[in-house]
């Protein structure tokens, strides 16, 4: 008995070690991407060449300067300036004026604000992956959910916020879920591949949103601009720093964290999640076990779409306040990278979303201060994804050990197999 216990203890220790090692690879991927990003910054900066014209030492010095300025402003933009936070805090304590302190938190809140829709959309794609479905349609589901959520947001009047906000969120969930369920149903009934159908539905949803919001469209504001009416104040997500209009950080971030916990619970602690994962891992075994495979496929796509819809609800109810025609977010596509980066695990998605949020917030500051183009974010994101998708590169570079194969996500599967 005791011998059995120790072998189990060892197995447990091995598992927890494996978990750390699972985090090590993405971490090294990020570091490597930052290093390569620095190379890109240096070689695209003409002042470096000028400095090398003056002499080799000056050139090297300039390289260090450029990288420190760029990444310095990057980190300041993503996480804030600690010195300023301390100053703001002491002003607040001594004079009672907290506005500097709040303003010093602005970078951090921007990171969290950018991360919020990423979490929702990343969860959407991750849930699909767990169910063996590749939902490329998060972007389209985001658009439809934007329409439904904004409609409830502006058209419903005279209701208190604690009814209006949940209703508007629900509208977003249902809009996304309905749009996601369509390719799910087509897959379940006809075997039509969800990759193709979600891409097609993306285009339909873009054009549908254009029609609804264009000047003279059914949902246009009617002031000659292709945007929806502004939502009622009662539909706004609670803001944490209403005194500072720059800060758009709102309760949506915590709803996203709750959503991540919910998806984790659903996937790993319930019979529904067991069905979703079994269908994803081995649909034949799922059928053998008596599971209703077509129903599970539709359900997975609907849940995925609903999560993608919440990303739109957050942006409209918490940040923008209306729906513009040119609403293109790109979240739906970044979400695929987020799910991959987070190994299709809800908590992994939260971590990767925070990273992408920081990249977005930091890059804007880097552009403003160090004059490094915003596009560097795309390069960094791209590099991180390449290194995550090809972990062999990172493992070879840093001589890490190959982790044990566990239950991952099914990324692709042939046509029409259920």
């Amino acid at each position: 008995m005791s011998e059995k216990n120790t072998t189990q203890g060892k197995a447990q220790k091995r598992r927890s070690r494996g978990r750390w090692r699972a985090l090590l690879t993405p971490l090294m991927a990020i570091v490597t991407a930052l290093i390569l990003g620095a190379v890109v910054i240096v070689v695209t900066d003409t002042s470096v060449y000028d400095a090398f014209g003056e002499g080799f030492g000056a050139g090297l010095l300039r390289i260090v300067e450029v990288v420190v300025t760029a990444y310095g402003s990057f980190f300041a933009g993503a996480f804030g300036d600690p010195a300023r936070m301390v100053r703001g805090l002491s002003t607040w304590i001594t004079t009672g004026d907290g506005s500097d302190w709040v303003q010093s938190l602005y970078p951090l809140t921007e990171t969290l604000r950018y991360a919020t829709p990423y979490i929702f959309a990343g969860l959407a794609v991750a849930l699909g992956f767990r169910g063996g479905l590749f939902n490329i349609g998060a972007e389209g589901q985001y658009f439809i959910a934007g329409l439904t959520t904004v409609f409830v947001g502006y058209s419903l009047t005279g209701v208190p916020w604690f009814i209006h906000v949940p209703l508007a969120l629900l509208a977003g969930i249902l809009g996304g879920a309905a749009w996601g369920a369509i390719p799910g149903y087509l897959k379940a009934k006809t075997g039509a591949h969800e990759v193709i159908n979600t891409i097609m539905l993306n285009y339909i949803s873009f054009r549908l949103a254009e029609y609804m919001l264009d000047v003279g469209g059914p949902m246009a504001r009617g002031d000659g601009r292709p945007v929806s009416p502004v939502i009622q104040p009662s539909a706004q997500l609670t803001q944490f720093f209403p005194s500072n209009p720059n800060i758009r950080f709102n309760v949506g971030f915590f709803i996203a964290l709750l959503a991540a916990v919910f998806v984790y619970w659903l996937l790993f602690k319930t019979t529904i999640g067991y069905e979703i994962r079994t269908v994803g891992q081995n649909p034949r075994a799922a059928k053998y076990a008596g599971m209703n495979v077509p129903r599970t496929v539709v359900l997975t796509m609907a849940l995925s779409g609903g999560l993608a819809g919440l990303a739109a609800s957050h942006d409209i109810l918490g940040v923008i306040g209306f729906m513009p025609n040119s609403f293109s977010s790109g979240y739906g596509f970044d979400a695929i990278a987020l799910a991959l980066l987070g190994n299709s695990h809800p908590f992994g998605v939260v971590l990767s979303s925070l990273l992408f949020g920081a990249l977005q917030a930091g890059a804007r500051n880097m552009q403003a201060i160090a004059r490094v183009p915003l596009d560097l974010t795309d390069i960094l994101q791209g590099l991180i994804i390449i290194f995550i998708a090809a972990p062999a590169i990172i493992r070879a570079l840093y001589r890490l050990r190959t982790p044990d194969e566990g239950e991952g996500a099914v990324m692709t599967r042939g046509w029409g197999q259920l």
Binding site: T271, T278, K287, Y288, G406
Partner: protein
């Protein structure tokens, strides 16, 4: 003269496993050394060490008396060691010649392949050893037995004189095995030496000059074929006395549990593969379905378990019509199903054992309360079943995919037979398993029968049917040729029926069919 190959004290460790523990082997020139052992005994590891795919932690290898270091297949080939893997390493869309040339192509004019030169040599080799292979045939078109010869030609083309054959008979029909043994004898006559890896006792006794038995990474013993028999070898392999024939009482059949009438089932190609099949299975008996693979047995089982729709006829389970019922309805009505392909249908390989054990009860209390899975109940159940059904695993959280085939099958058997069901359908229940696991699974099926369940066993192994079944249903081209009670069944008659030939003189069997129908 020194032996052609000698291994001394070979030791190979993997994390947590001692795969080879001080193995000594000696292969004499012109002889067959059989390496016998259950799955996971360390045979493949040892051969991979010899072939240079693994580096041993300890030990030495001598080829013709010279100490050698083998760092890869290239070194092994240079020393004249060649290996035919269990899964062939051939490119189906290339010809025999192109496959054989692959890696050491003859070139003409510095640019073009010289197929003629290679084909000529292949023809010579083929003649010399009686292999009878057309150098210009497309490999994908050749039967498995001939593909194996192509693998052997590849080795001879590279002038190997120590040939390792890894489970060479696993994929062959009895006739092809016979042909392979002839080839082996002609190889020996030309001075080649062979290591023959198998867990099939009959074959080892027939072909080898000496036998080494591995168990748990160690040498469990060596034997000479003329001084051994199947029983003694099986005991060495498993480490205890093995009962090769299943001990069971005479069946006490009671009321019919499964009644199949005129069942028609369509196959993949939308043609009928089960044609108007009628039989029944009674409580307390085992009905065996015999037949060469691909005569409708797979589709029959899929239809009975709800995985494939019936096109006509009726299936009744405990008097209830389940012809068009879903798998879940059939399971809940009291059916266990051990599927034909355990990895494809029966398991989720990436799941831990515990999660695989709840596959058809995951939604029922005590495993689930509402939609919430009860982890404590799942763990408790897994611990109990793993102990009860002797699944060898480090923990119940080990992914099933990392278990051996025998232990994977035990996980399925534990899941299916632990339920109080009235009908057990087991399809190829022991395919690819070792002696110990086969013995265990057979005893479990008989236990179910003796507890009063109706048991339907489908197997392509006639021996398995003959030792388990109380009545035998023989299928040929989707039809039932005959239903034979075990007392009247002879290996020859069943074999003829499996080939679609009615032994007319056995009038009694025809009567039996009518009774059953």
């Amino acid at each position: 003269m020194p032996p052609v190959l000698e291994l001394k004290g070979i030791t190979k460790r993997f994390p947590g496993v001692l795969a080879n523990d001080h193995i000594d082997l000696t292969l004499e020139e012109g002889k067959v050394l059989a390496l016998l052992g259950e799955n996971g005994a360390g045979k493949s590891t040892l051969m991979n060490v010899l072939y240079g795919l693994y580096t041993p932690d300890e030990g030495e290898i001598f080829v013709r008396g010279q100490k050698v270091d083998i760092h890869g297949p290239g070194d092994a080939i240079a020393l004249g060691i060649g290996m035919v893997h269990q899964h062939f390493m051939l490119v189906p869309v290339l010809t025999v010649t192109e496959n054989v040339m692959l890696g050491m192509e003859s070139i003409k004019n510095k640019l073009f392949l010289d197929r003629e030169v290679a084909a000529k040599r292949i023809h010579e080799i083929s003649e010399q050893y009686g292999l009878d292979v057309d150098p210009y045939a497309m490999v994908g078109d050749l039967p498995v037995g001939i593909q194996q010869r192509v693998e052997i030609i590849k080795l001879l083309y590279r002038q190997a004189d120590i040939l390792i054959l890894d489970e060479p008979t696993a994929v062959l029909t009895p006739q092809e095995v016979h042909g392979l043994f002839q080839v082996i004898r002609s190889l020996l006559a030309k001075g080649k030496s062979i290591i023959f890896i198998s867990h099939k006792l009959k074959e080892v006794l027939e072909i080898s000059d000496s036998i080494v038995v591995l168990r748990g990474g160690r040498i469990a013993g060596s034997a000479l074929p003329q001084e051994s028999n199947e029983r003694s070898l099986a005991s060495l392999m498993v480490g205890r006395e093995v009962i090769l024939t299943v001990a069971k009482e005479k069946a006490q059949p009671k009321e019919p549990v499964l009644e199949v009438k005129n069942l028609r089932v369509m196959g993949e190609g939308a043609h009928v593969v089960v044609r108007d099949v009628s039989f029944d299975v009674r409580a307390g008996e085992i009905v065996g379905v015999a037949g060469v693979q691909g005569n409708g047995q797979t589709e029959l089982v899929e239809s009975l378990t709800g995985l494939r729709p019936a096109q006509g006829g009726a299936v009744r389970l405990l008097g209830k019509d389940v012809t068009h019922a879903s798998p879940r309805v059939i399971t809940e009505a009291g059916t266990s199903h051990v599927p034909e392909d355990r990895q494809r249908d029966g398991l989720v390989l990436s799941y831990p054992i515990a999660d695989n054990l709840i596959m058809n009860t995951y939604y029922l209390p005590p495993i689930a309360r509402g939609v919430v899975l009860q982890e404590a109940a799942i763990k408790e159940r897994a611990e109990r079943l793993v102990a009860e059904y002797d699944v060898r695993t480090p923990s119940i959280m080990t992914p099933v995919g990392s278990l051996s085939g025998g232990n994977q099958q035990k996980v399925i058997v534990a899941r299916e037979l632990s339920r109080p069901d009235q009908l057990v359908i087991a399809s190829q229940p022991t395919r690819g398993l070792d002696v110990g696991s086969i013995e265990y699974i057979h005893s479990q099926l008989i236990r179910k029968r003796d507890e009063g369940a109706a048991v339907l066993v489908v197997s392509a192994e006639l021996d398995e049917i003959l030792s388990l079944a109380d009545r035998i249903v023989v299928m040929f081209e989707g039809r039932i040729m005959d239903i034979v009670p075990i007392e009247k069944a002879t290996r020859e008659d069943i074999g003829l029926l499996m080939a679609g030939i009615h032994p007319d003189e056995h009038g009694a069997d025809v009567v039996a069919t009518k009774e059953a129908a």
